[in-house]
Symmetry: C2
Subunit: 225 residues, 2 copies
Amino acid sequence: MIKVQDLTKTYTMGNTQVHALRGVKLEIGAGELVAIMGPSGSGKSTFMNLVGCLDRPTGGEYSLDGVDVSRMNDNQLAEIRNEKIGFVFQQFNLLPRTSALRQVELPMIYSGVPNRAERAMMALEAVGLADRHDHTPSELSGGQQQRVAIARALVNDPRVLMADEPTGALDTRTGEEVMAIFQRLHRTGTTVVLVTHEWDIAQHCNRIIRFKDGRVVSDDPVETP
Amino acid sequence: MIKVQDLTKTYTMGNTQVHALRGVKLEIGAGELVAIMGPSGSGKSTFMNLVGCLDRPTGGEYSLDGVDVSRMNDNQLAEIRNEKIGFVFQQFNLLPRTSALRQVELPMIYSGVPNRAERAMMALEAVGLADRHDHTPSELSGGQQQRVAIARALVNDPRVLMADEPTGALDTRTGEEVMAIFQRLHRTGTTVVLVTHEWDIAQHCNRIIRFKDGRVVSDDPVETP
Ligand SMILES: Nc1ncnc2c1ncn2[C@@H]1O[C@H](COP(=O)(O)OP(=O)(O)OP(=O)(O)O)[C@@H](O)[C@H]1O
Ligand SMILES: Nc1ncnc2c1ncn2[C@@H]1O[C@H](COP(=O)(O)OP(=O)(O)OP(=O)(O)O)[C@@H](O)[C@H]1O
Ligand SMILES: [Mg+2]
Ligand SMILES: [Mg+2]
């Protein structure tokens, strides 16, 4: 499903260069549930943005579901993203002054899905927020905003769900409820890639890939207890 | 240092009311290191915003360092906030397009402290970000932004440090480094109140206050191992 070879991302600021990813090679098969871990600043979000078709690599190859996306232009990236990927951002990226229901409806407007309001309400119910559907982000707690972002990423039944620290703002029990949703998706064939700092969350996955200084330093299966 | 009695906060949205805090009574003494825990949406950030003098209660009493702040106007609240409190926001609240160094300098401009750039650099060094001092928020990882927000809260030597989930975006090791800073402050007499979802972080504190549905449901000392 996801195949990268020598994936590189260098940010240029004035006359300094930041090597956020230094040649990453890995493959993630359809239906896997993978945890990405590593220290702050090690390149995890950079990797997620490239694989999520939100940004373009400086070098290397990336093919998603057999299609080479490394050299696509912005329109083509946007199309493949809306069609195949659900993305939960580390900072949620909700639209200000927009109700929770509307946030979750938006991806379905782009893809022309019918019964948006009903499906959006079901997604909000799945994350425990049906009674906050009319709240805008400033009227929601941090963890509630995160769950709206999760509902929005799920609502279009994506082939690949990419979640950058989806439980960071959640208490243990709410975090477990979100992981139960991701595991259910994984069992129905969705490929799930999530970044986490929490070992307990990583144990719900079947594989842990660790980043350090822009490189993959380990890639191991999770032993089921 | 912090004394609240029957503290209440009700948000009114159109014709519905959200009772975020339903009469909280507690006292935190000078120099304590307190963890606030509880489920997503239970009222922790609302409590922190009131005690941090960022918002006004709907009802109840609050005195900070012996001064009644419950009925102060916005200017008086801003003054006492800049003088006594360092606040780390759950969503960081950094200024866009502003370098890390400048973010940390800003509180010192308001309070008229000299040698701002030097002191700001030392605060960034303390959180491991001296080499990112010229990066704006969009050029920093999530955990790096969080650490800039921590440096900014510390730089003015506040009497009370209020941190709303200060390690949420950090890996375990970086989170431990931040807790070491908070413990050092606590030992020199700063009162530290932090919200966390992580049990390991709460164990660094000497007291855990738990919230549920807008109320305090438990308030216990941490047994030192
Ligand atoms: N401005 C607002 N208007 C209406 N409701 C609000 C507003 N701000 C917060 N709320 C509601 O008040 C409740 C408490 O919110 P608060 O942010 O204090 O929770 P929290 O304990 O910090 O949660 P989290 O752990 O998810 O950050 C939530 O249910 C939220 O929806
Ligand atoms: N737009 C940018 N310009 C310059 N440097 C950047 C930019 N975005 C990220 N960086 C740098 O690239 C490195 C990797 O950032 P990235 O966001 O991928 O880290 P991360 O592993 O997600 O960290 P965290 O766990 O803190 O979220 C960081 O050191 C960061 O400062
Ligand atoms: Mg990140
Ligand atoms: Mg909160």
